[in-house]
Amino acid sequence: MPLLEIKALSHNFEGLRAVSDFNLNLAEHELVGVIGPNGAGKTTVFNLITGVYRASEGNIRFAGQELVGQTPHRITKLGIARTFQNIRLFRELSVLDNVRIAHYAQAAYSPLEALLHLGRYRSEEKRITDHALELLSVFKIDAFAFEHSKNLPYGLQRKLEIARALATNPQLLLLDEPAAGMNPNEIMQLMEFIRWIRKTFHLTILLIEHQMRLVMGICERLVVLDFGATIAAGLPVEIQNNPKVLEAYLGGEIVK
């Protein structure tokens, strides 16, 4: 059974069809890329999966659970985490707090225990803080643990966003343009990094990307979107030579 099963997913924004009839099956431990020109509906697909938008039509099943109609925090709790195209860290909070916040669903104490700092509060807080610091040191950003996250350099902010997503303990990680604003050298490092987190944290990864270098380098399968419709799907080599894809990216006339 696939881990994520998307069937006939469609979404309209007041008449504009942002995504139409999108289908995708993700097996456990797969690394699949969604590509397509600007405005093709890639990020909308992510927003539909994570519950930011409610799909107009279709089904999304994750590990046997229907996701359409669930709230984002419930979906995250089920095991889907994501990053954002334009980094969305909690800027005025410390790097450590950014990661600790993502432990929200795992803290096993009641509001009353929180108000009085009694009962399970102390042990749970220690567990969360230790786990967050451990995660930060695995990502080699623990030196900045008590800095405001807005003061981190750009590359580390991207890393922190991934660390924060992993703190929710996901099975499926959605990466929205992880290579945005990176030079070729940094992209090579990022490819290694994505492979490494997939192995270390036993993740299934779905990523959106513009950078062909990255997508062709690490994705096992690709789905190509254009104007909300799936125009191609398959292995990276097949996609590379698919005339429809070239047309979408480069325009019709050049292809001939």
Binding site: T50, H73, R88, F90, A102, Y104, A114, K126, I128
Partner: protein
Amino acid sequence: MTALKKIYQSLITKWQAITEYRFFLPAFFIVGLLFCIVVSCFDLMDQYIQLILMYIGINIILTVSLNLINGYMGEFSVGHAGFMAIGAYIASLLTIGVFPQSSGSFFFPLAVLAGGIGAALIGFLVAIPSFKTRGDYLAIVTLAFGMIVKSIIENIDAIGGPRGLLGMDKLSTLPWVFFWTALSVWIIRNLVYSNFGRGVLSIREDEIASDLMSVNTRQVKVIVFVVSSFFAGIAGGLFAHVLQYINPRMFDIIKSTDILIMVYLGGIGSIAGSILGAVIYTVLLEVLRPLGVWRMVFMPLMLVLLMIYRPRGIMGLRESRLFTPISDLLSMKFHRQKKEADNASS
């Protein structure tokens, strides 16, 4: 110059050591409470000064609790006086009508608590619909709420209507105000430094990201709103028994604005700031009493200047070490030492 620097440095280290001492805050609480009991029993202080101190305490409760919504959570509530009114009327009706007058001081904490619970229940009812949608609806809802509370009270003749309510004994004493103030500061501090508190902060920073990081944003908002209105109710109960007279006009939008000024003066998202704001504002209002009506010109002017030159208030988003949990302070210290050791070795 260097001598001064040295003194400053040693003071800083001493302060750091004090704040890392587990029993400092409890000791401060007990000493403060004993001091208040002695002062009020033997009348060691001028009655007027005692009255100002009680107002300061009540204003601290109001400011800290409103800061939870406006500062920590980044929403905008302007109906705090409404919750205060609910607490004031419930507590007063209980001490006048229900509890025996002869042992009034014995039942007084119960009456105040009942006022707080009443306000919290109403707060819960207000929170449920207003947090169903995202955005700035809270300001409008709470504005309307404040007006509704005022006009409901004005139209119930049994509780005095627009004439107000009197007949309460002067049950708010310095020790009681100190106790409730310390309790509210402690509980709100605890809330802020917990899982839910971090959820509150993340809502201020980025609500959608917060939801996607598994924070149950609606649950967090409702908890915060209920806790905040609870303490507004407590403050109302205390206030009514200091003044021994309440009427609906006391709890209008002007009162809510006063609390807002204290929050933004002291600093959003800071407990130390809230205390500072409440103290400065209350004392300034008294000091400037000779100015008469001009006092009411000075205060808004101060707010305007504040917004221009220090939009986040005196302490804005910073917290005194005094209110940071010791476990956090220690892990920060440990972290710094490790970093220094790493630097030294490399």
